[in-house]
């Protein structure tokens, strides 16, 4: 009797598991199929993009799209600009958000809760509300048509990053700092020599999320950059579409080149990224 019901339970559990796998596989196909099509098209000759029925494996495997992209627009230049802006901005976010998050999480100071709440409240302010006055500031400094307009603000914190780091620092044990404090270390030494080495997961998460954000950003570069030699990849690709709107093989090669660096970083830092997104919800930790 008992073994029979256990067997029955197992069987229904197996059925549920099969159903779940089935569902996940269908979902995965829907998510990945367009990506596969992008890869396939990026290696096709122009005339082969018109084939009906569509062919997943290109009949003639061509690398020419990738070389053409670099010849038609200054693509290498755009890649370099994107890398420069994304790396320096990531650095800025990591430094400024880590410092602010540390103070809010681990120090007592005047108006701490008020400052924390105001920073959190800024998450609700759409960028579009502040973008025109910030543009005016940048124009007066002379940073229109300069990467500084994109990089500099990242050194001045941001609600998301500060909150993420604050949430992480809250989880660290107090004993960590106590010993150092007894030895007479100042807060900067504690922060630099004790807290940061113990915060690698959160630092990697923040760095990955920031890099992806700046690497993919369209609106800010669109506003500040008019010169072709300064363009970043997302703007460059969207302009490229205006010029070669139906040459999908070229467009897909360009899009693929834009996705690959972010995807590579993601594959290596995935665990931390997931942890970081969870931490940012305030639900964990």
């Amino acid at each position: 009797m008992a073994t029979e019901s256990i067997a029955k339970l197992d069987r229904s559990k197996i059925l549920v598991n099969i159903a779940v796998y089935g569902l996940l596989i269908v979902a995965a196909i829907i998510m990945m199929l367009p990506m596969m099509w992008m890869v396939s098209t990026a290696f096709k000759k122009y005339r082969d993009t018109f084939l009906i029925p569509p062919m997943w494996i290109p009949p003639y495997f061509s690398l020419q799209n990738f070389t053409n992209v670099f010849e038609i627009v200054p693509f290498a230049n755009m890649m370099f600009n994107s890398l420069k802006v994304a790396i320096l901005s990531t650095l800025g976010q990591v430094i400024s958000c880590t410092m602010a998050g540390y103070a809010i999480a681990r120090m007592k100071f005047f108006a701490r809760n008020t400052i924390f709440l105001v920073i959190l409240a800024t998450m609700m302010v759409p960028y579009q509300v502040v973008m025109i006055p910030i543009f005016i500031i940048m124009k007066n400094i002379g940073w229109v048509n300069s990467h500084n307009a994109l990089i500099f603000p990242s050194f001045l914190g941001g609600a998301f990053g500060i909150f993420l780091m604050r949430q992480y620092f809250m989880t660290l044990p107090n004993e960590l700092e106590d010993a150092a404090r007894v030895d007479g270390a100042n807060p900067w030494q504690i922060f630099w020599e004790i807290i940061l080495p113990n915060s690698k997961p959160a630092l990697i998460a923040l760095a990955t999320l920031s890099f992806t954000n700046y690497w993919n950003d369209l609106l800010s570069p669109l506003i500040y950059l008019n010169k072709m030699e300064l363009m970043t990849m997302p703007v460059g690709i969207s302009l490229f579409k205006g010029m070669h709107g139906t040459e999908w093989n070229l467009l897909m090669a360009a899009a693929l080149l834009n996705i690959i660096p972010a995807a590579l970083i993601f594959l290596f830092t995935q665990k931390y990224l997931v942890e970081g997104i969870s931490l940012s919800s305030g639900i964990k930790g």
Binding site: L23, M31, M32, L33, P34, M35, W37, P53, P54, M99, A100, A103, M107, F110, I115, T122, M123, M124, V125, P126, Y127, Q128, V129, V130, M131, I132, P133, I136, I137, K139, G157, G158, P187, W188, N216, L218, L219, M233, P234, I237, S238, K241, W248, L251, M252, A254, A255, N258, I259, A262, A263, I265, F266, V274, I277, S278, S281, G282, I283, K284
Partner: protein, 303 residues
């Protein structure tokens, strides 16, 4: 009251003064950003809304002229309607699908990490690149979607070139792109639910459906609330997809608030008018968040 006055005369102890100085040193970049890049611009934007500034000459005070023009601007209402349409469909559908995926992934089975990776790839890819990719999928002549419709003997669609299909298409692309992010948030929420609750329910003989409605859903409400608020805020800022694919067309079918603000402010250089529009958007966002905040007591269950 009296105590407070006499107390305030006391000198501040040295170690407290020192800790304050250190804390403000750590906070200084963020505070500079808070004032310079948020608080000051919010105020400046408010005043700009009452001017005719064109990014070049002097700004003249025009009173409520921008506001009146806005109320009478058909394209603004169209953009607002489109943005609300986009939000009203993409947020609930996207949330339901990502919750479903998170629940499927929240099982002790093999390969869950692999699926999670796949669902996250669109999240980390740029909107520009993925929008282009969907532009190809939805191409009326060589797109895979129309090929699929043809195989099923269904009529082809113009997708992004069709007035009635363009916005649903943009919504679909956005849901596809953002699914993984909310999924991760829901997964964290699900993993935070105490297992004892399920064990107790199982002893009481509860069915899976009862478990979902009486344990999972109530315990998940803080996560749902969080995801709802951030999704609402971000979907109100939809821009990249329409910029790449439709430029607001066909016939303003996909023009969104941010697209119109960008166009007015940075292409036509009507910065005053664009500021007024940004402020309208700000108020709407605040209103939505406030309504969420005020009503959360009715359905959000904090442990």
């Amino acid at each position: 009251m009296f105590k407070k006055i006499s107390g305030s005369r006391k000198p501040i102890p040295e170690h407290i003064r020192k800790e304050n100085l250190w804390a403000y040193f750590f906070l200084s970049p963020a505070l500079l950003g808070l004032v310079g890049l948020t608080i000051f611009p919010i105020i400046a934007s408010f005043f700009l809304s009452f001017t005719d500034w064109d990014a070049l000459g002097a700004a003249n005070f025009v009173g409520l002229r921008n506001v009146i023009a806005l109320v009478n601007d058909g394209i603004f209402w169209r953009a607002l309607w489109n943005t609300i349409y986009f939000t009203a469909v993409s947020v609930p559908v996207g949330m339901a699908l990502s919750l479903g995926l998170a629940m499927a992934l929240n099982r002790a089975m093999k390969g869950m990490g692999f699926f999670r990776t796949i669902f996250l790839i669109p999240v980390i890819s740029s909107t520009v690149a993925t929008a282009l990719l969907w532009g190809l999928m939805m191409d009326p002549y060589i797109g895979l979607l129309n090929y699929l419709l043809q195989l099923l003997h269904l009529p082809k669609s113009g997708w992004l070139t069709d007035i009635n299909m363009a916005m649903p298409a943009i919504i679909g692309i956005s849901i596809w792109k953002g699914l993984g992010y909310n999924m991760v948030l829901f997964l964290a929420g699900l993993q935070g639910i105490q297992q004892e609750l399920y064990e107790a329910a199982r002893i009481d003989g509860a069915t899976k459906i009862r478990e979902f409605f009486h344990i999972t859903l109530p315990m998940l409400t803080p996560t749902i609330f969080f995801v709802l608020v951030i999704s609402l805020i971000s979907s109100f800022q939809v821009f990249d997809q329409t910029w790449v694919l439709t430029k607001g067309g066909p016939q303003n079918a996909t023009i969104t608030l941010v697209y119109y603000i960008y166009q007015t402010g940075f292409q036509q250089l009507r910065m005053g008018y664009a500021s007024a529009m940004a402020y309208a958007m700000f108020f709407i966002t605040l209103l939505i968040v406030m309504v969420q905040w005020k009503t959360q007591g009715r359905w959000v269950f904090y442990q």
